[in-house]
Subunit: 371 residues, 2 copies
């Protein structure tokens, strides 16, 4: 009897994936979605300048992209008033989270998050054989918040290698004021790295984001071009923090992994802050519209600092799932959290008026069928 | 005293990176290269159809790419007469090698390669805490070959989790006939996965590549769009093999990591086999030219089945490095292997006639200065 191929850890990992793409759902049903509002993409798109920069870079793509991403890091440093050595760039926040879990944990190490928070972080923790501990969201029905006090209390007791915290939060859309996040940063144990996921930070209202020069060795903050900049399909995100901690990423990352088009596109995106400002305005306006649709349908939209709205359907998970299923059948792609008590909600990304109208109609049909 | 941040393994890893990009060298010297012949990129570029497909996809890049890459996998399956479940797609072979090392090894596990073979594979092995064992290249001066007999003998003795083998080989350009590779596949221990890196397979002469339907549970073969297809900067490669083994990648990969532009570009590249055929012809012709340049300069070019030529400088590593340094100073980017006995060579990628002429002139200056 020979030893098995693949490691005991690999063989123990589930074959499930964090998120099923809308394309997979379309292949299952044979019907294309009319509106794509499930993945918190920005249908307002990338800036035309980004599209032009990427199209120009396409023809130069016989050459590897700069593995040090010097031009992009210089642009990011200027944008955030940091230095290039404060920044590492990767294949989206997902890729960077995988690297940080790789660097900070070994099999059996403890990691802390909130029950119902970002599944892809949990996926990377499982992939490393680290052990995930969770505290509940603070339930102020209908609102749900990641619970800073509970995270701190548990972290002090268990001294995990990593604590995950998102602000603004996905999938609830809720947020904490900067002072509360700064307290979390200050009070998390020194030997614990705070994984501060700020994917939605570019669209957060004033007073939500801690200052960017708040640098600690045990703090790594994550941003992306996937959300407000409208570049989800491009795959470029970044982490920033203490140079000694940021430098660790160079030990495990895929050095040539950020494409030439992605680097050119991200530089162009940073250079078009007026487009970003307009997008954030459009997001705010569409969020109002989406909130109105939910209220008019008798459901409860949660306050959101993001490009999506979590809508409390007012009953249990089965009810929310039934609504989700009917909305999908109507050709509108949305998602819902998989974990209680968050699973009383559906989650809808904002879109253009045409997208919002499609959701409004789909929701009306769904509620009629489900009730 | 608090526990340190980052794991003992991470802290033990060197901060060195597998390859320094030409951009970093340019930043150090302040001078831009006139010819870029060091990274085995294809200056013949991607097909115009690929450029058009990626430019079109740029505007759609607000949406994540299909995490299952269904269209691309279907196209690859048709191209190779395989099934989609035989194939996994990732952010270049580099990214996929990282995933396979992650899946197959745990800290302390043995992995086997050849001394001087692909450094990025070794980098991923180190990142996992696995232990690298190496056998020498078979030295038939001037030629150098990965030594199938030595690899098999050592693998039978040590039963490593992985054996790395490239055909055609980088950095020597040498190759083995398909029958020899098939013997390696047949005779490698059942509990060892053979990592068959075929990055240069699309430009190999007839009789070098084993048939693509040669599928074994302990065989994973790697291909890329970076070399013959001229898409190094796009970041898309794939692995194929037994569905049970290929499925493992889904447990650790970055599911949304292959960009929308990369997927569209790769599909277009597969659809333009005439461009590939022309590129392979241009590579062969440029290889002849490069071989002639080396011979005329009194150096010894090695036979190559790739888009580069390893040139034996005929003395020791210091001599080869001195030539390399002078060629770089002349504004021509080339590389050389870092490990004996391969470090008696410089390695030059093929290019257009203008690139080849620049190298010819730079080599003449270098030899005059060094002698």
């Amino acid at each position: 009897m020979t030893a098995p191929l693949f490691s005991p850890l690999a063989r123990s990992l589930p074959a499930t994936i964090p998120f099923v793409g809308p394309e997979a759902l379309e292949r299952q049903t044979g019907v294309a979605f009319k509106a794509r509002l499930g993945a918190n993409e920005s249908v307002f798109g990338p800036s035309p300048k980004v599209v032009a920069a990427m199209a120009a870079a396409a023809a130069e793509s016989w050459a590897y992209g700069d593995p040090e991403q010097a031009e992009l890091k210089a642009a990011l440093a200027a944008h955030h008033r940091l230095k290039p050595e404060n920044i590492t760039v990767g294949e989206g926040i997902d890729g960077l989270l995988g690297h940080l879990v790789h660097l900070a944990t070994e099999a059996g190490d403890g990691v802390l998050t909130s029950r119902g928070a970002y599944p892809t972080f949990n996926y990377h923790v499982a992939g490393r054989g680290a052990v995930l501990d969770m505290v509940p969201y603070r339930d102020e029905r209908p609102a749900l918040f990641e619970d800073i006090d509970a995270l701190l209390e548990r972290a002090r007791a268990t001294r995990p290698k990593l604590v995950y915290f998102a602000n603004p939060d996905n999938p609830t859309g809720s947020f904490h004021p900067a002072e509360a996040v700064e307290r979390l940063i200050r009070e998390v144990p020194e030997e614990t790295i705070l994984v501060l996921d700020e994917a939605y930070g570019d669209m957060a209202p004033a007073g939500v984001m801690p200052p960017e020069d708040l640098i600690r060795p045990n703090l790594v903050r994550f941003r992306t071009f996937s959300k407000a900049y409208g570049m989800a399909g491009v795959r470029v995100g970044y982490a920033f923090g203490d140079p000694g901690s940021i430098r660790q990423f160079d030990k495990v990352r895929n050095h040539f992994g950020v494409s030439r088009m992605a680097q050119a596109g991200a530089v162009a995106a940073l250079g078009d802050q007026e487009f970003l400002r307009q997008t954030v305005e459009r997001i705010a306006s569409a969020r109002e519209r989406l909130t109105g649709i939910a209220l008019a349908a008798g459901l409860t939209p949660l306050a959101s600092a993001t490009n999506f709205v979590a809508i409390d359907c007012g009953r249990d998970a089965a009810y929310a799932r039934a609504i989700l299923t009917e909305v999908l059948k109507e050709g509108v792609f949305i998602r819902m959290p998989g974990v209680a008590p968050l699973d009383r909600m559906i989650r809808v990304s904002v879109g253009r008026e045409a997208d919002m109208a499609l959701f409004e109609a789909a929701l009306a049909v769904a509620l009629q069928k489900v009730d």
